[in-house]
């Protein structure tokens, strides 16, 4: 058996096994670790195709960083909570998932069977990447010519993600809405004024309590003993 075919079958089996683990295992942490196996399998497939840079990126970014991000989210949500398997957040999500999976499978089969040997021919979008030589150089050529806007927009996308995460996770002591900005006479403004008056009354009450002269700390107390 040729080495490529053997590697392809082995990596494909690892990919499929990991994907099944992602879907079937009950513990979310095990799901994330199964995803690592799938991503490693894809990296081996990249090596099999001679795309060494992509293989390295696959391991460093996806298996190394993205899955860690997934794990942090899982730990953040708390895996100890018993998830109710019967409850479906989306209506009819299971039949829809089956239908979508079958549709994608059918489309893939049609593309494979009808296109024959030229499923990824020279006219495909990936043609510039399929030249002989290191794939890292071809990637850079496409990146700085045809996809230069997409390249810059990627930076914007990542920045937006970071800003969004910071905004959502920042714990503020101030109220999220500045109540002073509401115009006078609205319901919120009337309620705010009532709250302010109540708070002011409490402060006054506290001040009166403090203002009462205390008689317990008298110097006579220690004299009798």
């Amino acid at each position: 058996m040729r080495v490529e075919m053997f590697t392809f079958l082995l990596a494909g089996a690892i990919c499929l096994g990991g994907a099944l683990g992602v879907v079937l295992l009950k513990n979310p942490v095990h799901n994330a670790l199964s995803l690592v196996a799938t991503l490693f399998g894809v990296a081996v497939l990249f090596v099999n195709q001679g795309a060494y840079f992509l293989a390295a990126i696959q391991v460093i970014v996806y298996a190394g960083a993205i899955v860690i991000l997934f794990l942090f989210v899982i730990m953040l949500l708390g895996v100890d909570r018993e998830t109710d398997e019967g409850r479906e957040p989306l209506v009819a999500q299971r039949p829809l998932a089956v239908a979508t999976g079958l549709a994608i499978l059918g489309l893939s089969l049609v593309a494979l069977l009808s296109a024959g040997q030229r499923a990824t021919g020279d006219k495909a979008d990936l043609a510039p990447l399929n030249q002989p030589g290191p794939d890292i150089n071809h990637l850079a050529e496409v990146l700085f010519t045809r996809y230069v806007y997409a390249f810059e927009i990627t930076a914007v996308l990542l920045t937006v993600a970071v800003v969004g995460a910071v905004v959502l996770s920042k714990r503020t002591n101030e109220p999220l809405i500045d109540l002073d900005e509401f115009p006078e006479g609205t319901v919120v403004d009337v309620r705010r004024r009532a709250d302010d008056a109540k708070a002011q009354d409490e402060v006054d009450a506290d001040a009166e309590v403090v203002a009462v002269p205390d008689t317990e700390g008298d110097p006579q107390e220690g004299g009798d003993d």
Partner: protein, 125 residues
């Protein structure tokens, strides 16, 4: 082999050998220990180990959202490195245009880091 891909894969023969050797070694050691060890199951042996004292609370606990921020910042600069590598291998080919594009890219990404820094989420307090 006449196929050039096969020549490339032949250089990965060492990787394959090391990987299979690793699997064989681990499997062999696990098999040996299974063969030799006595089996006396006790309930105490299944408690998670916590420095010798009985563990307190559950094994899983909810982590803080700060970890997510740091992981996201790590992913951001990981992706930045991914895009810098192809540029850096052929810097002279792309010249001033490539340099400007890369500086704009890094500048936009730095905005996110500066925002996180100014908002104080990088401070672990």
């Amino acid at each position: 082999m006449s196929n050039p891909l096969s020549d490339l894969l032949r250089s990965y023969l060492a990787v394959g050998l090391f990987a299979s050797l690793g699997f064989i070694l681990v499997g062999l050691l696990l098999f040996l220990s299974w063969l030799v060890r006595p089996s006396r199951p006790q309930a105490q042996k299944y408690i998670s180990y916590e420095s010798g004292v009985d563990p307190v609370g559950d094994m899983w606990s909810q982590s803080q959202v700060r970890y997510y921020i740091f992981a996201l910042l790590f992913v951001m600069f990981d992706v930045e490195a991914v895009f810098i590598f192809p540029w850096a291998t052929r810097v002279e080919l792309y010249g001033v245009f490539g340099l400007v594009e890369m500086l704009v890219f890094i500048g936009i990404l730095l905005l996110g880091l500066v925002y996180a820094w100014r908002k104080g989420v990088l401070r672990w307090a």
